[in-house]
Every structure is written in C-alpha cells, then in structure tokens.
Symmetry: C2
Amino acid sequence: MALPSIDTGRHENTLAVIRSLRDHGPVARIDLGALNGISSATVTSITAELLQQGLIAERPPELPRPTGRGRPKTLIQLAPGAACVICVKLSINEIQLVVGDFAGQITHSEHHIVHTLTMSAANLVTLLEEKISAICGRQLEGFQRLAGICLAVQGVVSSQSGTITWSPALSFRNAPISAQLAERFHCTVLLENDANCIASLLASQPEYAHATNLVVIMLGYGIGMSVLINGVPFVGANGSAAEFGHSKYLPNGALCACGRRGCIEAYASDYALYREATQHLALPAGDSAHPSEQQMQALTQLALTGNPEASRIYAEAGQALGYGIANVLALFNPDLVIITGSGVRGFEAMQTSMHAAIDDALVTELIGATRIESCAWDRDMTCMGAIAMTLDATDAQTLLDSQTVREA
Amino acid sequence: MALPSIDTGRHENTLAVIRSLRDHGPVARIDLGALNGISSATVTSITAELLQQGLIAERPPELPRPTGRGRPKTLIQLAPGAACVICVKLSINEIQLVVGDFAGQITHSEHHIVHTLTMSAANLVTLLEEKISAICGRQLEGFQRLAGICLAVQGVVSSQSGTITWSPALSFRNAPISAQLAERFHCTVLLENDANCIASLLASQPEYAHATNLVVIMLGYGIGMSVLINGVPFVGANGSAAEFGHSKYLPNGALCACGRRGCIEAYASDYALYREATQHLALPAGDSAHPSEQQMQALTQLALTGNPEASRIYAEAGQALGYGIANVLALFNPDLVIITGSGVRGFEAMQTSMHAAIDDALVTELIGATRIESCAWDRDMTCMGAIAMTLDATDAQTLLDSQTVREA
C-alpha cells in the first residue's frame, strides 16, 4: 500500500486547523478561516476531509439568542476519541499518570507513591511499562489510537536523545529511557523537563501571546525554570539550560539538595523554607525533609498572619528569589517572568522583599520593561502542558494514520 | 531605470561566495565551489559576473611548488576597493574610528580622547558627523563606495531601533542615534554592542565553528558578554540581555560603576582590581578610577610574580568571575565560554580560583561538557568584528549598486 502523497501547504493548514480547535474549543468554520488566515473554501475542504477521517465532529447549532441575527452557526470540534496520549509526571517519590484525549482534555488520572530515589533506571522502565500497560488495558476504550507518551521530569533531560541526564527525583544519571518505551508501545515518546511543559501551556494562552521571550519559574519542592525564546523552549547545548534553582544567591550559603551551597533553591523551595522554620517554630509533625502540601500551607499561614519568624523566613526567601530573578533579567531580558508552581501559595509573603531585592540589584535600565507576575497553581499545568505538547508532536502522524485507514 | 530583477538562489550563492572570500582570503574557483556546495559551472558564472562588476579580482598563479602536480591554480580575491565601511568604537572617554576595505582589512585607524561622560546625545552626533566627514574627505580615496557605518558601543543598545539605551561611557540614556547618521551619510548604519562584535568575529573562525552556543566574556575597564544561540547574538526583548557584568556575585557587596553593589564587574574589572589594589599597595601614579593599560600591566605583574596582596586581589576577582560563570552555565548551558578583552592579561592570576569557584558552585551535571577557554587580546577584535558585521549587512546592497552602475 502506497502512503498518500502530501501537499505541504494543505498539510500545514490542516495541522493549523487541528491546533486551533484544540486551543479554542468548538469554533465555527468562518472563525477557523480567520484564526488561521486561510480562505473559507480551503476551510470547507479541510473540514470535509477531517470529518470523513473521524478527526472532527460537527456540533449541532445552539438555539439562536433572542437578540441574534441570521441562522446560528454549526460549530466544529475535535473528535475526542480520535486519539489519546498518556503523560507521566515524575517527581520525588511520586508518579502521576494521566490520559489526554484528542481535544487535550484529561480523561483519567492516577497517582502512585513509589521510592523513586532508590530505583535503578531498569526498575523505572519496568515500572513505567507496567503502569502504562495497565492504562492501555483499562482506560483507552473508545480511543482510535494511542498517539504518544510523554514523560515530564524534574531536572535535566535531553529531549533529543530521550535521556534523563540528572533529576533530583532519581539517584541514577544519564539514563536513556524514551527508546525502550517507544519500542514497547509503538508510538512517539517525548521526554520533557516539567517546567517546559508548563511554559508551553502558558505561552499558548491568549493573555501571554505577546510575551515571545517568556520566563516561567516554578516554585515547589524544588525550583525549576523554563525560558521561551521567540516562543520556543531554550534548552542550551545539552538540555541543562534554565537551571535557575541552582544559580547562586550566596557563595558558601545554605545547603542545597544538589549538594552545593548558596543556590536559590536552598532558600526559596518548600524544603528550604520548612527546614529553616523547624529551627525556630513548633510545626505540625510530618516529614520535615519532604514537607507535605498541608505542612507547607500551615507554614504559609503563619507567615501571612504575621508570625515574625515565619515572616522573616519568607522575606529572606523572597530576597534570594529576587536576586536570582535579577540575574535572569540581566542575562535574558525577557518580556515577562511568571512565577507559579505549588510554592506560589507563599508568594504573597515573599513578594515585597523579592521586588526590593530586584530594585536593589539592578539599575532601572536593566529591569527595563520586564513584567513580573505570579500565576495561581489551581490545576496541574505540568500534565496539561505535556498533553498539549504530545498531541502537537503527533498530529501529523495521527493525520497520516487516519488517511491510511480510510484509504486501506 | 529599472532595478535588475534578482534570482533568489543565484543571489544567495553570490553572497555566499563573497562571504567565503572574505573569511578565507584568496581561494581557487574549485575550492569556492566546495566551500559553498555549489557546482563549478555556477562558480564560473558567478565569478565572471563579480569580475565584470569589479567586486573581485584574479590573482596571478603562484609558481608551482617543486612537488606540485598540474598547473598552478588562479586564485580569486575580493577587490579591496570595491567598497569600504567605517566603524566607530565608543568607550569611556575615547572613540576609535577605523576604515575597513571590502576584504575586511583595516586600512586606517585613529583614536580621539573625548569626554564622553559629559556629552549630550546631540554633542555625540555632531562629533561623530565631524570625525566621519573628515575620514570621508581624506581616507576613502580609491574606494568605489562607502557601504556602511557601524557604531560599536559598550552597554545596552537596541540595534533594531538604532538607540543607545544605556552605556557606562555616556551619561544620557535612550538616545536614537543611527537614523541621523544614516541620513547624513546616505548609507546603512549599524548600532551594535561591542561584545557582540567580538563574538561574531570569533564565531566565524574555523576553530570555534562547532560551538553554536557560544558565550564570549570581555574583561576590561568594564565587563561585557555576548551570547550566541545557534550562531546568532541573543539580545533579549529590548537588547539588554547578556549583561553579565551586572549579574550578582554578592548581595550588598562591592560598589559597581552602575551604582549598585555586588556586581561581577565590581570585583573583576580593571577599575575594581585597581581600586582594591590602591588600598593595599604602592602603585604607579595615574588615574586610579580609570587605570591605563600601563597601570594595569604593572598590577598584573605584581600578581604574577607572587606579591601576596596582588595575588589575593586577583584570586578574589577570579572567584567572583567563577561564580558569575557558574550562573551562566546553569542558565545558558553553552558549548563554550571564551574569556577575552584587554583584561585577559590578568587571567593567569585569576584562573585557579575561577575554576575552583565554578566547581564549588555547580554539580558536575550542570558544568556538563562546557569548555572554558581564554583568548589572547592581541588585536582589537571589536573593530574587526564590527567591520565584518557591517560588510555582511551591506553586501546585498553593494552587489545591487555595482550591477546598477554596470547596467546604467
């Protein structure tokens, strides 16, 4: 069977239509044309083909509003069952697996507590194969195909070679991991830094569309960062760029989880805040090296309600964060810095000293027009971003597969 | 008169041939084809046209070597007089003007001591117009055309808008400057950061060709940096990226020329080294706030010959530099960091503590495979780089002009 030949312009337009439907949800044909700068004749032709391939569906027109004129428009939407992706978020002693449908929505999510820090690379691959197989067996009914798998990992990864270089969640180093999963599950396997997943998701939102040079700082157990340059994640020569958490606040300062001293993370991460707090405050019992969300919320409350020690600790964290951000401004000159992640719960207690530190560190010309904003962590943007990246990376293959099925 | 129509592929190949001749010097036709991946028929046709336009010349074959086989090859070289560019390097209280010929060689150079720090933007433009006019009147005989002018400036510039945002050499800010010169001299005017000129020059050298992610740190009176990402200078959202000198070593540390405290520059620049040294050592008389090359060489000699105070001062500067470079490695993950500039004279006295600081600051996974090298400052790479950038930016226009002249 010959593969269908591809008209490049048509192919690009088709992918753009799929992407628009994913970003915007149900859209009328006329708006699809406007969003992508293509003619209505082309939209009609592309949507007819996508309908036939089962990748999109028409949604019955809504009732006309009382004030509406003309007949209501038929909306087009992605067929959720056309394909799915599985994303695995790997954090310290925890993995989360989610299934995303073709429209980018989460249809299934599960957590597992596992001792990631004591695992070998082979153990990890075996565990992932097991968990993904189980999902394939039980959760993928109604999907035409598994388009891809994404591993979103804290730390340094080489997306190109599919290798985990160094992660605070793992004790092994430089482990190739994507190839084995790709062979086992016969699909595309992406390996991404977790902060890059979040940044990609944020960058696709209309409110941040103007910020082509975007820095996203992720506060939490550790501290991650993603830098988008002209909208593209900047990973450096070997994938270890944007390691903001291990840039320096103070030579010979506080001990970091990486083993070195004075990193930003050693002051402003959850473990650092809690470690400092246990020296001075009576806190709820629990694992003080790996504080839970509940423990962190209790500490944050103390700071926000004026406990002097807790306030001092957050203010110092804000100062370290501010000096770190000052370096990011001097070196990257971004349009926008967004601070998010679960640790943003404590941002209110840090922001005054953070801004003071930035002003203290840099002349106004180097702060320039860069805006610094926080973004609430009210949903897990890592998995949502990983799903979107995986679908974007596999749309061309899904399109080809559905054409092949139709022509077979 | 109609402008000649341009065949895009042919045009690109012609520009590539010109660029090869500039980078490599005289080359045989057959090698020009190999260097640019174009057929010998195309090379023959392109060089015939360039010969007719007076942009290249043939060089008589050299005598065959005793062991040589076959007849010696005729070499092609750029016609130096086909065009020239003028570059102005603006530093604190000094401007240097150079003329570069079409082959990229400096044919004239002059220095002027001027009080840059007390000048208004209007004064600077008037001064530049005067000095450039004088060069046009006296130094450009034998050149077919002035193709362009480049201002290479310490500090933050917006190349796109031709505006000097902030320079340690100037007390005014945000001054548009290129447009007035372009109008006065009827040619392309480039405005570039001085470190970007150096990085562009280094990146074009075969020994650094593999380093597509290249960081160049320029030590001197101040400290500058250029970051090439995939070979292209990274300037950030508004042109103020890569301001390494003002990234932080120590919160509330030594006073920097920018007015803030704890910048890398406040420890490792010429003025910082000399300022610290005057506290502890008897040094040759001179301007201690703006030490001369001679004063700096005397100080460096003390450090290199084992004077304990001088050695300590350079070791501390090396430590600050090392912590700053550690941040650059964590954030940019480059293939290669090159340290150069006039301040590299003292690198030998700094490098041990610099490497120790990097090892102290970062886990090996974040140092990765990045090489850190120094490059002797035995010629002024700023002007050489500015000439090359200006010629590259104006080759298309020079080509068009020479075609127009021929066809008129």
